[in-house]
């Protein structure tokens, strides 16, 4: 049923956006983490979205043909160069006294966060509208 399909699609959008938001939070929290469990500096992470058909074809729980939900296809690490900070007193400094710091760009992260928030709100709005319409249909 179409309106229940909206709930599924908007739900998939909200799930994806919150994963994006958690990647942003992880990046901001680790903006100064010079050593991770792998021994390397932290690298900024980004989620990759992919449109996906939700129709399962075996009932009315999926979405109709022609409309797609969204899923997180994977998480990629940024290839941006790491920051080099001159700090000879650090125990992680190399021979020249430089410490490799994460490639997290605070401005990028803020923009990403705002965008994720906006998209999440739009999904929530679509979800609520579908809920209202479904309830309205019950009262015919």
């Amino acid at each position: 049923m179409s309106l229940l399909g909206v709930l599924n699609i908007a739900g998939s959008g909200m799930t994806a956006q919150s994963e994006r938001l958690s990647a942003v939070a992880s990046n901001i929290a680790n903006a100064d983490t010079s050593v991770t469990s792998t021994g390397q500096p932290y690298r900024a992470r980004e989620v990759v979205f992919q449109a996906v058909s939700l129709g399962s074809g075996d009932g009315d729980d999926g979405a109709s043909a022609g409309s797609e939900g969204v899923k997180v296809a994977g998480v990629v690490e940024s290839n941006a160069p790491l920051r080099s900070v001159y700090d000879p007193s650090s125990s992680f400094a190399d021979a020249n006294g430089y410490v490799q710091m994460p490639n997290v760009n605070a401005v990028d992260e803020m923009v990403n966060m705002l965008s994720a928030q906006q998209d999440y709100q739009a999904d929530l709005e679509a979800f609520n509208v579908a809920k209202t319409l479904a309830l309205r249909t019950l009262s015919i």
Binding site: M1, S2, L3, G5, V6, I9, A10, S12, G13, A16, Q17, R20, V48, F49, Q50, A51, G55, G57, D58, G59, D60, G62, A63, S64, A65, G66, S67, E68, G69, V70, S115, A116, Q118, D119, A122, D123, E125, A126, F127, V129, A130, T132, L133, R136, T137, S139, I140
Partner: protein
């Protein structure tokens, strides 16, 4: 079997199902507002309704059930195997919207406006259907006194 009651209410049934389908298509655009390469789509409501109510000679007779998720339902919907395709064929790519660098063509503000307008249209159809049923009830009972509890 088509009765007079069926004909009157069947139209609203199709309008509401199509409006619901369009709501789904629009929410799909909204959910994919940040998906790289995603192209915004929309349901051509006028065309879909015309096809659904048999205004187009493309379908063999009025396509009565044209929006089903289950292939088994499609079989019982008058023989033609791709009943769902009737409405899905009216889903078209939106043109004229700005395409971002990652290939996404969803305009979030426009989608939200369209979805809100579509929801109002859905409610309108629901109200009309509701009123039609009330009118039929009045006709059957012979007076409007049923709901008001008598005069």
């Amino acid at each position: 079997m088509t009765t007079a009651i069926d004909t009157g209410l069947g139209f609203y049934q199709q309008v509401m199902a199509l409006r619901g389908y369009r709501q789904e298509v629009l929410s799909s655009d909204i959910a994919n507002a940040s998906t790289p390469g995603f192209k915004a789509v929309d349901l051509d409501f006028a065309q879909a309704l015309k096809q659904a109510t048999g205004g187009s000679p493309a379908a063999d007779g009025p396509a009565r059930v044209w929006l089903v998720d289950d292939p088994r339902q499609m079989q019982s919907a008058g023989g033609s195997g791709d009943a769902a395709g009737v409405a899905a064929a009216a889903v078209k790519y939106q043109v004229g919207t700005e395409v971002t660098l990652d290939g996404n063509s969803v305009d979030l503000d426009q989608e939200k406006t369209e979805a809100a307008a579509n929801a109002v249209d859905y409610e309108a159809a629901a109200t009309f259907a509701s009123q039609s049923i009330k009118m039929l009830t009045i006709a059957i009972n012979g007076s409007a006194s049923q709901s008001s509890g008598g005069s």
